[in-house]
């Protein structure tokens, strides 16, 4: 973003003035703010003038048919993909477009991938250990020691995700659902301000889905959660506020009932499901 463009945003802190590792400032508005974001791959517009705001402590569900740009949107927020135009802010202090993935993660944005990615060659315990919020620079990591309070915290999360029995097994042997849980556990270890959760219940049984729904709703309030999900039943069970993406931009926003009655939405998406 050019300097001049920044100056037009009087409500925001300029990049060069922002303290490097300052906490997220949500006094003046939303925790996540995306405006006029565009991305195209080889002429294909994956994201088309997307505007989205997520409030602090909110639980937001994002739905949309395949190719609506849900995963690309997450890639933009976490710094994996850089948009062609637009601005993305975390609180009112951090311009996410100028930051790298690890920086964004350290600011307090955690992400769960669509395909569960855990470190299969490490144990469940070690997976959580790596995710733990800590000094992640090289030398502190080299000399890091396992303090009792860290162990307690890991055990706590192990209990939350129900993998205590498997703590010393390699993550590679876990079932698909267990990997999903482990990844959610890793998110929790990060203590993020904002969680981006991509299809959390794919491959889960009914009971597991229920527990996931419980967990996510319990997180909301303390943390902000953005869930991308295909499973309508699941969305209905947790969602207070739903955003429908279609062809890279927001088609509708509102409560689940409002959205599911929107004729546009029914036409492009829900119509097929219902």
């Amino acid at each position: 973003m050019s300097m001049l463009e920044q100056l037009t945003h009087r409500d925001r802190v300029f990049d060069f003035l922002a303290p490097v590792a300052s906490p997220v400032d949500v006094r003046h508005g939303p925790i996540l703010y995306m405006e006029g974001v565009n991305v195209s791959f080889d002429g294909f517009k994956a994201i088309n003038n997307l505007n989205l705001t997520v409030d602090d402590g909110e639980l937001r569900c994002i739905i949309g048919p395949n190719g609506a740009g849900k995963t690309t949107m997450m890639d933009i927020i976490t710094g994996k993909t850089r948009p062609d135009t637009g601005s993305v802010w975390f609180g009112s202090r951090h311009n996410l477009l100028t930051k790298s993935e690890p920086d964004i993660a350290s600011l307090g944005i955690g992400r769960k991938f669509q395909k569960p990615t855990v470190f299969e060659a490490l144990t469940v315990f070690e997976n959580l250990e790596l995710a733990m919020a800590a000094d992640k620079r090289i030398l502190p990591t080299l000399t890091a020691i396992m303090k009792p309070e860290y162990r307690d915290r890991i055990n706590e999360v192990l209990e939350t995700i129900g993998l205590q029995q498997l703590r010393d097994r390699l993550a590679g042997i876990l079932s698909h659902g267990q990997k999903q849980w482990l990844e959610i556990g890793m998110l929790l270890m990060q203590k993020p301000r904002l969680l981006l959760v991509d299809e959390p219940v794919a491959g889960m049984t009914e009971q597991e889905m229920e527990r996931t729904a419980e967990l996510l709703t319990s997180l909301a309030g303390k943390q902000s959660v953005v869930v991308v999900e295909h499973d309508m039943g699941f969305v209905r069970s947790i969602a207070r506020h739903v955003t429908v993406l279609h062809q890279g931009s927001v088609l509708a926003e509102g409560t689940m009932d409002q959205v599911s009655n929107d004729p546009e939405v029914i036409k492009v998406y829900l119509g097929e499901e219902a």
Partner: protein, 373 residues
């Protein structure tokens, strides 16, 4: 089980490290004993030639450990580690060259023979200081370290990994080989550096110095092994594995993957440099062929045969392959390349976990101490 809080001491509590160090020191002691105290005509006598040969194997073993650190734990297949090895070797070779003094063929007190031969007027600036041992020994670490730092910084920052990285590391060592072949570079061109006389005042041609170098190499291998083990057993080691298996995930956890890669890569390059520096006085020559892509890729097959991501496997592989090479190039030189080529294919297709994998399968012990404790 109590795990030491000091990251450097942690390896000593691991079973595998204890066994490794025990075997290594036993070997050093036995060889020394057999060399010094067995009569020359005894079947058990170990000749100075054999001692030096074993010393050479230990240098290769240290080099293999360095490669295993980046390949096994970081997933970076470097096809250019021979370059770091050779740079360390050249730094040592330059020191040894300066030690010759006026005893060279041309009797020039400062200029090495090849420079006199090429009508060089004075010592090039980058040769200055190499008459001092401490300076040369620092350069043994710095020369490969800085190359790895610059190269790694550029490569990892741009997220060049996988086969791309392998290919450009190969191109790097190839370019260096071409460069060192040039006489204008001032490193002896084709012939390299040779005709060394003494090291730290000890005559390189005496048996005692050779034995000393062998023991020094053994100790260097032990230290290098423990350093690698310490890194691997630390949280950083687990982060390395994380980078290897799911780079993007690691990044989203807040780790700077490129810095982890750079750190481990530079440590590995420096270890390779030390191996090269110990290798040169024992074989008595360093020339650009150490930069050849073939040598670098051979190192990788030692590690693959021994079993990667174990470190001790690298040592086993390096010693086995090089012993086989010594035997077969002597008996039937034509067959050696067939064997080496076959080894590449067989190990990758049938023995992906190497010899160490076979050993582990037999023991079938869960390796969890380091993590849970």
């Amino acid at each position: 089980m109590a795990v030491s809080q000091n990251w450097l001491l942690r390896p000593f509590q691991e079973r595998s490290t204890q066994i490794f160090l025990g075997v290594l020191f036993a070997a050093l002691v036995v060889v020394t004993f057999l060399h010094l105290f067995m009569p020359q005509d005894s079947a058990l006598h170990v000749s100075a030639y054999t001692v030096t040969l074993l010393g050479k194997y230990l240098c290769y073993a240290l080099l293999a450990v360095a490669v295993d650190l980046v390949w096994g734990y970081l997933g970076i297949l470097s096809l250019g580690h021979g370059a770091f090895f050779a740079l360390g070797g050249y730094a040592m070779g330059m020191y040894l060259m300066r030690q010759i003094g006026d005893r060279g063929t041309y009797g020039d007190p400062i200029l090495p023979d090849f420079m006199v031969f090429l009508n060089w007027g004075e010592l090039p600036w980058y040769w200055l200081g190499f008459d001092m041992a401490w300076f040369a020994f620092i350069m043994v670490l710095l020369a490969p370290g800085i190359l790895a730092l610059v190269f790694g910084f550029l490569a990892f920052r741009s997220r060049v990994t996988g086969v791309y990285l392998s290919i450009i590391t190969q191109a790097l060592t190839f370019a260096l080989m071409l460069a060192f072949f040039r006489n204008e570079m001032g490193f002896g061109g084709n012939n390299g550096l040779t005709d060394f006389r003494d090291i730290l005042g000890f005559n390189l041609r005496t048996d005692a110095t050779r034995l000393g170098l062998f023991i020094a190499t053994g100790i260097a291998l032990a230290i290098g092994y423990v350093i690698c083990r310490a890194i691997v057993a630390s949280k950083l080691g687990r982060v390395s594995i994380a980078c290897r298996d799911a780079e993007a995930r690691t990044r989203f956890l807040g780790y700077r993957v490129e810095r982890v890669q750079l750190f481990v890569f530079v440590v590995s390059a420096m270890l390779a440099g030390v191996a090269g520096a110990l290798y040169v006085p024992q074989v008595g020559i360093i020339n650009p062929s150490e930069f050849s892509p073939l040598f670098s890729i051979e190192i990788v097959v030692w590690v693959a045969l021994g079993g990667r991501a174990t470190l001790y496997g690298a040592v086993i592989g390096a010693i086995l392959v090089n012993y086989a090479k010594t035997v077969f190039t002597g008996v039937m030189p034509d067959a050696w390349l067939f064997m080496l080529g076959g080894l590449f294919v067989l190990v990758t297709v049938f023995l992906p976990k190497g010899i160490a994998g076979l050993l582990k399968k037999r023991q079938k012990q869960p390796q969890t101490q380091e993590a849970t404790a």
